[in-house]
Structures are given as structure tokens and as C-alpha cells.
């Protein structure tokens, strides 16, 4: 078997462009996938035009709220690209430099203030989006909806806070400033206390009965208005979130991205190499000559899978070493990395052997390997809850039949110190190695025909 392995490495060395592509293409693909996953901006870029006058204030009744700073709050959540005009905002969106543009018109605060007048007008903000891509359009809509919900929440909270102050003034009394003059407000509590102090001095009769009614009213009013304060606060966020994590194994995004990139590399290197080198035996007419007693078919399959694992191991470890320059990886877990790469590589190699045995030519096999590996790899990345339950079940079954997902799980577990044990994934891979090995062995029977 070692001579066949040496021969395959000689052939690989003899085709430098092919060898380079075999290594460079998966690595490039893997890095791009890793960057796409890890590099999605936590703060989307939004062009922002704020035409609202700086001294404009939202009013509640006769008083003005302090400056809410909606602009600052929005720019906390997104990366604001400040523009000076609507035309500039449109250009930014059209060029793709920003995800969308948000324009706060000059009359926004006036319109908000009109809501408490007899002739209200609806406050509006303008959002400019580029919907050339339906996926991007959906993403932008979600982002903008979220931003506006946050902005509305900020305003509602401030109104609730100010409203609460007025409510406390009615309940407990205090000082109230209006048009530069300070007024002392008695409040229900003090009113009731004064009336209760006066009551014993009054003779029984209609006047005392009336005083009793007023005292009862103030008591009831205090009790009921007392509940209005918390109610007002709750109105700004009636539903609170109590997040319970049931699967605590989610790895950090960077680790997951690296695991995805490494598994992509391993998958393409092993599947393509094993499938291609097996098909080459047939293309070179060497298979019947080899299996006439020189090498058993099982040994030939084992050699091909070993070739895939060896090359996949080298490329994947080199890639992890390169990535560790940018993201800290736990080299103390190198043993687990090796276990994940070897088991994943062997299962992917066995699948590659089954594919290689199914076609006659190297080119057809390469195409077949791409056609199978690429969609399966992407399907393996679909998280639960993002598609319908029936479809997700189908995806789950399909991805469980191909080694990419268990290889990814093993790799993620090996890379993440807080992750789950990789034992289950290794067990899954062992089953797939046996299954694909048998499938490849069966498919090799077709190779014998000359």
C-alpha cells in the first residue's frame, strides 16, 4: 500500500497546478466562508441625515422633555455615516456603501408634539433602501424596523418618565414650574390630610358628609393612581424577555467560523483527492492490472482514503496554524484537533471513494464531487428555526447521511474548550466511514469491466 501511496504523491507532485488548486482553492473558499460568517458587521452602516433642529424638544402637556438624543442612540446601534443632504444619502445607498439611509425630517418633533393637539399629524421618518437583492432587502427591513422600534421605545420611556413625574405631583404634591413661574401643588395626599384634620372640627351634618365624600375620593384616587405609575412604565415594554438557554454548547462565533472554514478545507481536499485519484486508476486502465493480485480492492480503497486523510490533515493543520495568527486557538487541544481531522477526513475520504467509484473519468468525478459536497456543506450550516420544521427535518436527515456535518461538529468541539465532547460526532463519523467504505467497495465491482 505504501508504494501506491508514494505513487499518488508522485503524481500529485508532478501536477503542480492541480496540487496548488487542490490546496489553494479549498483554503481560499474556507477563508471566504470564515470571513463571511465572522465578519458580518455587528453595526450595519447606515447613512444618517438629521434635519431636526437641535433645539427642538418633544412636549408633554405644557412642558418640554429634556433632549432625548435619538440621533446618538441610533448611532450607538449602527455605524452612522453622516450625510448632508437627501441626494447624498441616496447616492450612498445606490453605491452600496451603506445598507440604507435614515432621514429624520425637520418637522419630526413638531409632528410628534401635534399628537397631543386637536389636529394631530403622523410623525414620519424616511428610509431609503436598495432592494436589488431580495435577501439584502429583507435584512435592511429587519434592521430598520428594529432601529425604529428602539427609537420609539426611547421616546416612550422618556414620556412615561415625565408622565410619572406629573402623576407623583398630583399624588404627593410639590413644586411645578410653568412659563418661568414656580407653583406649589398641594397633591392628593396633602389634601386628604388637611381634610382629615378639619373633619373633627365640623358638626355632624351635610357639610361633614361632603367632607367625608371628598376624603374618600382622595383616598381612592391615591390608591388607584398609585398603580398608574408602574403601569405607565410597563406600557413602554409590556413584555419582558426571560431568556433560558437550553443548549449551552453554542461556540463563540469566531471558533465556529474557523471550524466551518477548516471543515470546508478538509472536505474539499479529501473528497476531491480521493475521488479523483480513484477515478485516475480507471482512466489509466491500471485498476484491472492492480487488482489481478497485486493489491486487493479493499487495500486500494484504504490507500486512497489514507492519501486523502494525510493531505487533508496537512492542509487543515496549516490552515489552522495560519488562522491562529489572527484568532487565538487552544493548541493544548491539538490532540482533539487531530482526532477530529483524521476521523472527519476518513469519513469524507470514504464518501469521496464512493463517488470516485461511481464515475469513469477524473473530470466527471471532480464535477460530481463538487456537486455533492458544496450543497451538502451549505445545507449543514442551516440553523434550526430558520426554515419550516418539515424542511429542516429533511435537511437534518440529508446532512446526517454525509460526513460534512458530523465532521464540523467534531471540529467545533475540538476547537472550543467550552464545547461539548466530540465523542458523539466521532461515533457518527465511524458509522459513516463503515457505510461509505462498503458502498465504495461495492461500487468498485463496476471498475473491473474492461
Amino acid at each position: 500500500m505504501r508504494w501506491l501511496l508514494l505513487k499518488d504523491l508522485q503524481i500529485l507532485r508532478r501536477s503542480p497546478l492541480q496540487a496548488f488548486l487542490l490546496v489553494a482553492w479549498p483554503v481560499l473558499l474556507a477563508v471566504l466562508v470564515g470571513l463571511a460568517i465572522s465578519g458580518s458587521p455587528s453595526k450595519p452602516r447606515i447613512a444618517f441625515l438629521n434635519d431636526v433642529p437641535s433645539d427642538a424638544r418633544v412636549s408633554v402637556g405644557t412642558s418640554q422633555l429634556p433632549k432625548i438624543g435619538v440621533s446618538d442612540r441610533i448611532c450607538e446601534r449602527v455605524e452612522c455615516v453622516h450625510v448632508k443632504s437627501r441626494a447624498e444619502a441616496v447616492d450612498e445607498v445606490r453605491s452600496g456603501d451603506v445598507l440604507a439611509a435614515l432621514i429624520l425630517p425637520a418637522d419630526l418633533v413638531d409632528r410628534i408634539n401635534s399628537l397631543s393637539t386637536p389636529s394631530p399629524t403622523t410623525p414620519k421618518v424616511e428610509v431609503i433602501v436598495n432592494e436589488e437583492d431580495p435577501v439584502k432587502a429583507r435584512l435592511v427591513n429587519d434592521r430598520i424596523d428594529s432601529l425604529l422600534t428602539q427609537a420609539n421605545l426611547v421616546i416612550a420611556r422618556r414620556i412615561a418618565t415625565e408622565g410619572g413625574k406629573f402623576l407623583n405631583l398630583v399624588l404627593d404634591g410639590g413644586q411645578f414650574t410653568v412659563i418661568g413661574q414656580t407653583i406649589q401643588i398641594l397633591g392628593l395626599r396633602n389634601s386628604a390630610r388637611i381634610l382629615q384634620a378639619l373633619r373633627p372640627a365640623l358638626p355632624p351634618g351635610p357639610l361633614r358628609d361632603s367632607i367625608d365624600q371628598v376624603i374618600q375620593f382622595t383616598t381612592l384616587a391615591r390608591a388607584n393612581l398609585g398603580t398608574a405609575g408602574p403601569l405607565l412604565t410597563r406600557l413602554t415594554q409590556p413584555i419582558a424577555v426571560d431568556k433560558q438557554v437550553v443548549n449551552a454548547s453554542t461556540p463563540p462565533l469566531e471558533v465556529f467560523a474557523i471550524a466551518v472554514a477548516a471543515t470546508f478545507t478538509l472536505a474539499f481536499v479529501t473528497v476531491l483527492l480521493v475521488a479523483g485519484s480513484l477515478a485516475l486508476e480507471r482512466e489509466e486502465n491500471a485498476f484491472p492490472r492492480l487488482t489481478r493480485g497485486l493489491v486487493s480492492r479493499s487495500a486500494l480503497l484504504t490507500e486512497k482514503v489514507a492519501l486523502g486523510v494525510a493531505v487533508g490533515l496537512v492542509v487543515t493543520v496549516l490552515m489552522l496554524a495560519g488562522l491562529s495568527l489572527f484568532v487565538p486557538l487552544h493548541w493544548s487541544r491539538f490532540g482533539l484537533w487531530l482526532a477530529a481531522i483524521v476521523a472527519g477526513g476518513a469519513a469524507l475520504g470514504a464518501a469521496g471513494a464512493a463517488l470516485g467509484a461511481a464515475a469513469r473519468e477524473v473530470r466527471a468525478v471532480s464535477l460530481l464531487a463538487f456537486m455533492v459536497t458544496l450543497p451538502i456543506a451549505f445545507l449543514s450550516l442551516i440553523p434550526s428555526g430558520t426554515v419550516g420544521p418539515g424542511l429542516y427535518d429533511a435537511v437534518k436527515v440529508l446532512t446526517a447521511l454525509f460526513p460534512f456535518k458530523p465532521a464540523l461538529q467534531a471540529m467545533t468541539g475540538a476547537l472550543d474548550p467550552g464545547g461539548p465532547s466530540i465523542a458523539a460526532a466521532l461515533g457518527h463519523l465511524a458509522i459513516l466511514i463503515a457505510a461509505y467504505g462498503l458502498l465504495a467497495r461495492f461500487a468498485l465491482r463496476r471498475f473491473a469491466s474492461v
Binding site: 508504494w3 501506491l4 508514494l6 505513487k7 508522485q10 503524481i11 508532478r14 501536477s15 489509466e284 486502465n285 491500471a286 484491472p288 492490472r289 492492480l290 489481478r292 493480485g293 497485486l294 493489491v295 473491473a448 469491466s449 474492461v450
Partner: protein, 235 residues
């Protein structure tokens, strides 16, 4: 090597219908017949690559060398790497010495370091045969070995193969549909048509049979007379 009553079916079609063959050491046996006669099927069964549906073969295990029609070697390796690989797979005690011997035999010593893909079809075929010889066979099976070779390459090939039989005592069984080639190099001819063995004997005996069964073509060239013979036999 002795084969008796070989039958091979592909679905409804019978590719071989009870073919017998017995060879002696140092014999050069040509299997001739038109396309689809069953020549490659017979050789692949004798080589142990295909199994017959009926019949028996008695051949020394591992001592039958097989050289397929399409060169079975690695075109991205050099001449020497190919020979060395197969010598190692054949578990030769000294693979390097065996490689040198084959390089000498094929006359390719000077081109040992060349990638096989860059060699002519004739030279590739010589390496193909040399690989077949690395198993040190008592019987060598050659499937249409001269296809695609120019006359000069063909002459060198037959000189090489004839020497194997005469000098080494290797039994050589080769298939061809070139009747002139079979007559010139085959010490014995096995004529196959539609899976049926029509004739087994020397070239002279075949000429006699042709004269007897197709007298109208007896004065024409041997190939024309042979076609007439096949026609008389219903093929």
C-alpha cells in the same frame, strides 16, 4: 494453460460459446476474428479479470501476465517510476535490478526519466508489455498489442514479443483482427466469430481450410479468402 467450454453471456447475448484452448510453453497463439468476435472477452477471462459463466480454466496462479489493449500504466510518472512501482508491487527482491532489466529489454534505458505521457504510442506499449512481464509470467496475454503503432514500431514490437517466446519459453497469446499479422507472427491461430471458435491450427492449416471451404476465393489474397471463409461458416 488449458481452458475448456468457456461461455460468457452479457444479458441475452452470448459473447463466448463453449470455446476451448490449450497452449504449450513457448507457443505464439494468435486469436483472430472480426470486431465483436469475443477476442477481448476470451483474453480477459484467461487473465482472470472476468469470470466465465460456464467452463473451466487451468492456469498457474499469478503466472499469467496480462497486457491490455489500452496501456495500463501511469502517464504522469516516468518510465522508470512505472517499472519500479510495478516491480515493488510484484514484490521483487531487487526491484531496481528488475527495472534495469526491463529498461534493457524495452530499449528505453536512455528515456528512463521521461514522463510516459510524452512517449509515442509504440513506446508506451513497450512499457505496457514490460510491466506485464514484471510478473515473470509463464503465459503472456496481449490484447491487440499493435493497434495504433506505425509499421516500424510494429516490427520492433513483434521482434520483442517473438524473442520472449523463443528465448524465454514464454507462451504468448495475442489477439488481433489483422489477419496478415496473425499469419506472420502467430505459430498457431484461433479463429473466433460471434463467440464461436471456428478454427484452431497453424497458418498453413488455415490456408488449407480456406481453400477447401471457399475455393472461389482461394486465388485471391489471404485476407479476402479469410473473409470468404467466415462467410461460408455463416458469419
Amino acid at each position: 494453460m488449458e481452458a475448456t467450454g468457456l461461455v460468457k453471456r452479457y444479458g441475452e447475448r452470448e459473447a463466448l460459446r463453449g470455446v476451448d484452448l490449450r497452449t504449450e510453453a513457448g507457443e505464439l497463439v494468435a486469436i483472430i476474428g472480426p470486431n465483436g468476435a469475443g477476442k477481448t472477452t476470451l483474453l480477459s477471462i484467461l487473465a482472470g479479470i472476468s469470470k466465465p459463466d460456464e467452463g473451466e480454466i487451468h492456469a498457474p496462479q499469478g503466472e499469467v501476465g496480462w497486457v491490455p489493449q489500452q496501456a495500463a500504466l501511469y502517464r504522469r510518472l516516468t518510465v522508470e517510476e512505472n517499472l519500479m512501482l510495478f516491480a515493488r508491487l510484484e514484490k521483487h527482491d531487487d526491484p531496481r535490478a528488475s527495472t534495469e532489466q526491463m529498461l534493457e529489454l524495452t530499449g528505453l534505458r536512455e528515456r528512463r526519466g521521461e514522463i510516459v505521457a510524452r512517449l509515442s504510442g509504440g513506446n508506451q506499449q513497450r512499457i505496457n508489455i514490460a510491466i506485464g512481464l514484471l510478473s515473470r509470467p509463464l503465459v503472456l496475454l496481449l490484447d491487440e498489442p499493435s493497434v495504433g503503432l506505425d509499421p516500424r514500431q510494429r516490427a520492433r514490437l513483434w521482434e520483442f514479443v517473438s524473442a520472449l517466446a523463443s528465448d524465454n519459453g514464454t507462451t504468448v497469446i495475442f489477439s488481433t483482427h489483422d489477419i496478415q499479422e496473425a499469419e506472420r507472427y502467430g505459430g498457431r491461430l484461433l479463429v473466433l466469430a460471434d463467440g464461436e471458435a471456428l478454427f484452431d491450427g497453424s497458418p498453413d492449416e488455415l490456408r488449407e481450410a480456406v481453400r477447401r471451404e471457399a475455393p472461389e476465393a482461394a486465388d485471391q489474397d489471404f485476407e479476402t479468402a479469410f473473409v470468404a471463409f467466415l462467410h461460408h461458416r455463416g458469419h
